[in-house]
Every structure is written in structure tokens, then in C-alpha cells.
Symmetry: C2
Subunit: 211 residues, 2 copies
Amino acid sequence: MILYGYYRSSAAYRVRIALNLKGITVEQRFCHLRKGEQRDPDYLRLNPQGLVPALELDGGALLTQSLAICEYLEETHPEPPLLPKDPVLRGKVRAFAQAIACDIHPVQNLKVLNRLKSLGLSQDQANAWARDTIAEGLAACEALAAQGRGGPFCFGDRPSLADLCLVPQLYNARRFGVELGGLPRLLAAEAACQALPAFQDAAPERQPDAE
Amino acid sequence: MILYGYYRSSAAYRVRIALNLKGITVEQRFCHLRKGEQRDPDYLRLNPQGLVPALELDGGALLTQSLAICEYLEETHPEPPLLPKDPVLRGKVRAFAQAIACDIHPVQNLKVLNRLKSLGLSQDQANAWARDTIAEGLAACEALAAQGRGGPFCFGDRPSLADLCLVPQLYNARRFGVELGGLPRLLAAEAACQALPAFQDAAPERQPDAE
């Protein structure tokens, strides 16, 4: 399989963690988002959304959207699981993941911030937008994780889809200088994750395209 | 089960369609988003994100995030299915749903538009932001659906998670005056959906809290 990614894309980071946790090796190709390579016609033919990540399967089919890719990996490589067995808990884990993947990340990504600037807002205003979006979203995630079944991970004693969204979002939070002191539950889950090679090896600065 | 919703929330609209398709009856309660009822402390205790929909299960557990709720309904009430059986196709359907639920809807919702206005942008600029976000996102969805396996629905001969995201997003698109002429594949899928009572009965104007 071929993973199209970018070292600092938090959506690609999620998929790298999932692949590492499941022990799946892929070829990595890179799409430099700040140079606009995601708008290259050849890439748009692969992924009409012009986003990373995208996963090209061995048969040539292409999957997009990080959470859809993770669900595909879960269905085709069930061990170790990224979702618990109980349907209600699966719902809680997915909701946490989507609280990040739908309601935080897309509202603070590079594309939205560039658009704010094109409307005349300053870089400081764009950064404050990102910071406020992340802070408000993570505060809700802290409460959602508290509804879970204990740690050390977001939902129990093994990393799940929730953790692989959390760790990249905390990485983004620090880039924007978000105050994280009110998030003890999330920081504890992050610490448990960062002790695992699957998370360590997926970090942006360890990727071949890191600058 | 109790569904907390708002007639014009496109995320709640998705869940109403899923419930109708599966023939599940729930009690509906309403959270008036324009009056700020989603920030009521009692509601925030239920859903720390302060968003609709939320589904209270018979045992009292609460599920949030529309797509997580739909996956829960799919797992606990498998017939009729909202996802195909084949893992690659499931991935394509989920990616289409997430292209709307992550990359269009949260960037054009009421909260973001209010925030743009609080930064000094005009109502016209906020509306243009919504219009451009929807138009660009739906154009990518048109291409994603074209990679599917034919109609009349987005991905084949029965409605899926893709269609129940598409129909509410097209409803929003029309509210903002988005030009839909270049989306024949999506409009054909919408027409197939709108022929079904499950979609008709979920429409915003048919809800008890519609104004």
C-alpha cells in the first residue's frame, strides 16, 4: 500500500499511528501542503478533495479521509483493535475521534487560516482563531474522556481511535500555544501513548519529509 | 431512546434519516440553536460539546456526533444496512460522508459564521464563506461519487451513510444560494433519496420544532 501524506498534517499523523499499531508497512509518498502540491492535477485525480492522507491499496483502489482509512484498517487487520467490542463504547470512542476530526481540526487547518488572512485578518487574528478553536474543542474532549472507563488511555487500557486523534491534535495545540493546564485526563492519555513506539515513530519530526 | 435535535441542524437531520431508514422510533427533544439552548448547563452536562444531535440510549448512556450515532445504529440494528459489505466500498462511503461531515459542514455552520462576524466581517462575507466552502466541498463529492459503482444513490442501488450526509448538505447549499448545476451525480442521488418516505419525513420543515 502507498500512503500519501505530509509530515505536519495531523490527519496523516493519525493514519501513521494506526498503521504502526497494527504493524502494517506501507510505502510513503509526500505531498508538500505549504508548496501546494495537493492541488497538482495528478494528485487531484487520485484525491479530488486535494487533501492528505490518501491510501492507495494494493489493487489500486484509493481511500481518503483519515477516519475512513482507520476504519478500513480495523476491518481488514482487526488486531490489535482500535475500537472496543461493546457498541456503546465504540460509539463513545468514535464520538471523541469525530469531536476532533470534525469540530476542531478542519476549523483550524492551514486552508481555513489562509482564507481568514485573505479576508483581511492578521496573522495574529488567524492564530487566535486556531488557538480558541482548539482550546474550546479539547475542553469538551476532556469531559468526553471523563465519561469513559478510566485510563491510562482515553478510553481504557489500550490505545484507540480516540488516542490517535488526540495526540496529533495536542501537537497542533502546542504549535499554536494553547494553554493545556486544564486537561489532565487528556495529558495523561497522551503520556501513555507517547511511551509506545507506534506513536513515537509516527511523530512529524521523524518523517522523511520533515523540514 | 431520546434524540436531542434541532430542525435545521444538518447533523441532526442525518440521524433522523438513519432512524427512519431503520424503522426506529425515538422520542424527540429540541435544543433551539439560535436561542443558545445548546449552552444551557443541563444540556452541557449531557453533551459537553454543546452540539446536536445527541442520542440518549434506553440504559441512559449518551452518544454524540452524528456519524458515531449512525455507526452505533448500524451495529445494533443492521437492517437495512447503511454501509455496503465490501471493506473498500465501506471505506469509499465513509470517506464521502466524512468529506461532508468533517470538511464542509463544520466550516460553514452557524458557530463559525457568527465568529466571522464577531471579527468584523459582514453578513455578506460570512454568507460568501459558507457558499464557497459548500461549493468547493460538493464539487469534490461529485468526483468521489463518480468513483463509486453507479447510482441511483451515491454508491449503488440503496441509500447509504453517504446519502444521509448529502441530502442535508444540499439543503444547506440551497439556503446559501450555492450554484448546483455542476453536480449532476449528486442531484440524481438526492432525487432518488427524496422519493423515499424515510428522507421526506426527516426534512427540517416537517419537524415539530420547525418555525
